[in-house]
Amino acid sequence: MKGTASKLGLTVLLAVLVAAFLGILSVKVLPEAIPAGTRAPPRLGDLVFYAIAAMTVAGAAGVALSRNILRSAIGLLMALLGVGAIYVFLSADFLAVAQLLVYIGGVLVLILFAVMLTARIGDVNVSNQSFGLAGGLALFVAVTPVLLVVAALVPWPVHPDPSMAATTARIGNEFLSRWLLPFEVVSVVLLATLIGAVVIARKELKPDEPRESP
């Protein structure tokens, strides 16, 4: 299984590259962005965050680079799980659970069904070819530094001591007071989506044409 081994090696290499990239970033850029007085030895929670962030980015890289659409789906699973865990670090408990329910329980299953209904399983190894990695790499190199420099060097007006508190009750109050109209509009949007998806995906039977025999 030389192909599998080389793919595994490539994946490991990419993961190492991403980890090294994040390491360089945290060593070179962060000390400039953060005053020297706030430095401290790493806590366990920080290490867990780094592991989850690496899993998230590795999953996203798998979506972007894998040639097998099923592996892309597994990468998407890793990325979505990681984002849900990152929500926990940001004290967004309700959002983390919503991410699990909606994305992993809904969207990902829908995507897997679409993969299995559309790709011929025999060609699944070449089912996810790309237009060429050069353009993608150029795009990545063009976009990422801008975003990273903005993220690292802009002096955001950071709250000094962000609190970790339960948010579910507050989100419910906000939904039913300040954001009531968008909340109701979203329910109409979901209804329209439901009907629209059924209308688009059903097989059209014209009355003047004879029915196809299976």
């Binding site: 991403v18 994040l22 945290s26 962060l30 962005a33 953060i34 706030t38 430095r39 790493p42 920080d46 965050f49 962030a53 998230t56 980015v57 996203a60 979506v63 972007a64 659409i69 789906a73 998407l76 990325a79 990152i86 929500y87 940001l90 004290s91 967004a92 309700f94 959002l95 991410q99 909606v102 994305y103 809904g106 969207v107 995507i111 679409a114 993969v115 559309t118 790709a119 790309s130 237009f131 353009g135 976009v143 975003l147 690292a152 955001w156 007006p157 709250h159 609190s163 989100i171 906000e174 939904f175 968008p182 979203v186 949007v189 979901l190 989506t193 629209g196 998806a197 688009i200 097989k203």
Partner: protein, 103 residues
Amino acid sequence: MTHLTLTHFLVVGALLFALGLVTVSTRRNAVGVLMGVELILNGANVNLVAFDHYVVGGVSGHVFALFVIVLAAAEAAVGLAIVMTIFQSFRTIDVRIADTMRE
């Protein structure tokens, strides 16, 4: 090493966004393109919640992120329905094949 700051979360969001952009623009499989859209929306959501936690301090960012999640689910449902229709018409979901409207 430093403790977790806003920048850590912004970096994760930026990488998710960039990789999603690469996925959208390089995949030939239409389902792969939809996966890239999901990555982009998740990157944006991470930024929203991080700014809410570290800068604003309320739950407005959470509410906005919940709206994004709902609309992403709706977009995935309609998008995959369109992909199924394209598969019925063209027998493939390669995004280069469905170019009937390109004149």
